[in-house]
Symmetry: C2
Subunit: 359 residues, 2 copies
């Protein structure tokens, strides 16, 4: 450890805050908070939403619902646009919903990658609707995809974009990231009283003054973030984005070849960072267990209404095509074992074809 | 990294939550939050203090003032008991202050070790006053000393005791700890609406259900905390406490021998974890710089009204008597260089005498 008020730490933080700017597609240094992704979500609420404000939350899964819950805990009138889980929100759906509201809306919340379903919402198209139909702030949760997908806050018309360290940004959990544009900064300045640790003014002011943090930062994780920025630079940001698309395409091609249904049927709605698989019957748990028991390979379970119905394959951050080959091989062996089918090589073959198209 | 919803992580968290119980002197598992120490302070405010509540904050330095600021940001009427910086709060002072208030007090806040001055407040004696004179909750900031000083929430009548990972608990920053007793749990259940990430009910309920966290925990730091608990067990908790007393006594004896004034004059008010030195004139900065330039040794500056007037020597966590010998040797060389005095060996000699008394 080094002292967190030292020049060496300040330099590291400066690297992270500025080198993440293209990754978030922002023109302002990215704010770093010690906390889980949820602390970033809450900061995007408690700094701009006043008690009694009307807000719209696009709910496509667990994390859209979390945004709604946070808004409710701060006394907002929450209008949920509930979308069937496994499907992305269409811009037309949002437009119709917004036009149906009587009260002016303070903010519209959306989830970029809804990690609970592996849907990637079309946040650019949704942003265009928000700005055409309302004067609302547009606030996006990018926790499970930023670092693996393109983001351009100006082009997408996003005012606040938040993320966490432990997904495509390849770090252990414990760092939250918040990118705000100039309009959001103004709203934050005039935000509610009841905030202290998550008061973004404190973080923004600390950058203006000396590139430091208002409260003791998680030094080891910031050092890690500096290395992550270096890795992204080394690979090239465009190549990182392309690699994630390849990983998604390989995964989907392989899973389909195995005859396992994908939760997200529409290719255009599928996240480049995670893929949810919905096997027939109750096999999700059995497949997850087989992978764990035989290969110490961890896939994630479903959450809430999808509990027991899906498993999710993460393919983000430092994941490579060979990692996808490995998980598909493991799936071939699991399906062979559980269903007695001749599966060896069939998923890998399709994944290789999907990979070759990009090489 | 491992999946944070895995059994291996749950087991690690369970170890940390229970093995820290004697360190906090609590009968309940210690809550772990991803955040800075200030997030722990805020959790102790926002879960129990309602808008309009009257609260008392004992302010003996920067971190007492921080408690007061947090309470104000949540709309409390804050009654500050301001104590001269460098001095501990006497129980009689608190008793007189509390008896002078007209309104019933919801909570009394105190700082165990005020790290900005290196004062250790007599939190047990203050607790006795709080409970004799009021019905208030008694809430203590133990960030810069828990893990290096005794704590017994029942005996000291503390309802909420908070700390952080990066001081005497020897970890990188990024973990906040909160210990609550049964009475505090009740208050937290009936706490204000406007909280989500720092809503302690969520953390307490997660322990009751499956020993997990409501939001993604900082896995690497929790693994570190497990090792910290093992180290404390290995040394023996009583020995850890004794070692910190020895470190303080050695440091104070050595600094005095060098003719450098201590900010905390009264030995009984001095923290076992940190010692503030207040050299005559403007030498604090010069000494700090000498240590940094010649030995890459970092002592901390003064904060706020003590800026430029003091430097602070940390002697906590994994610090050993030999670390104190080293910093005193460095100070001897600094004072020799800056003042031309024959200082070699004189601080070390006194420190050895203080050490010998405990060996």
């Amino acid at each position: 450890m080094v002292a967190h008020r030292s020049e060496v730490f300040s330099n590291s933080l400066k690297q992270v805050a500025t080198k993440l700017m293209p990754v978030f597609g922002t023109k302002e240094p990215v704010v770093v908070i010690a906390g889980s992704g949820t602390s970033a979500l809450e900061s995007a609420v408690c700094n701009v939403v006043h008690e009694g404000d009307h807000v719209v939350v696009v709910v496509t899964g667990v994390f859209g619902e979390r945004f709604a819950s946070i808004c409710e805990s701060y006394g907002a009138h929450v209008h949920r646009l509930n979308i069937e889980w496994g499907t992305a929100c269409r811009p037309e759906q949002l437009e119709t919903f917004l036009k149906g509201l009587k009260d002016p809306v303070k903010a519209v919340f959306a989830t970029y990658c809804e990690t609970s379903t592996s849907v990637l919402n079309p946040v650019k198209d949704l942003g265009a609707v928000v700005k055409r139909v309302t004067d609302a702030l547009y606030i996006v949760d990018g926790v499970s995809c930023i670092g693996g997908v393109p983001a351009n806050m100006e082009d997408y018309q996003i005012d606040i974009l938040v993320s966490g360290s432990q997904k495509a940004l390849m770090l252990p959990p414990g760092l939250a990231f918040v990118a705000v544009n100039k309009r959001a900064k103004e709203a934050i300045k005039n935000g509610p009283e009841k905030r202290f640790y998550l008061d973004l003014n404190r973080y923004i002011d600390s950058y203006d003054e000396a590139v430091t943090t208002p409260f003791t930062p998680p030094v080891s994780l910031v050092f890690g973030a500096e290395e992550v920025c270096r890795m992204i630079e080394e690979e090239g940001w465009d190549n990182v984005i392309k690699r994630h698309e390849v990983l998604r395409n390989m995964t989907r091609a392989g899973v389909k070849a195995l005859g396992l249904p994908l939760l997200v049927e529409n290719d255009a709605d599928a996240s480049p960072t995670v893929t949810a698989v919905k096997p027939d019957g109750d096999q999700a748990g059995a497949i997850k267990k087989y992978l764990q028991d035989h290969f110490s390979m961890v896939v994630a379970s479903g959450q809430k209404q999808l509990k027991g119905k899906i498993f999710r394959i993460g393919h983000m951050g430092y994941s490579t095509p060979f990692d996808v080959i490995n998980v598909l091989t493991a799936l071939e062996m699991a399906v062979h074992e559980l269903n007695g089918r001749d599966t060896f090589g069939i998923a890998v073959k399709k994944a290789e074809e999907a990979w070759k198209a990009h090489v």
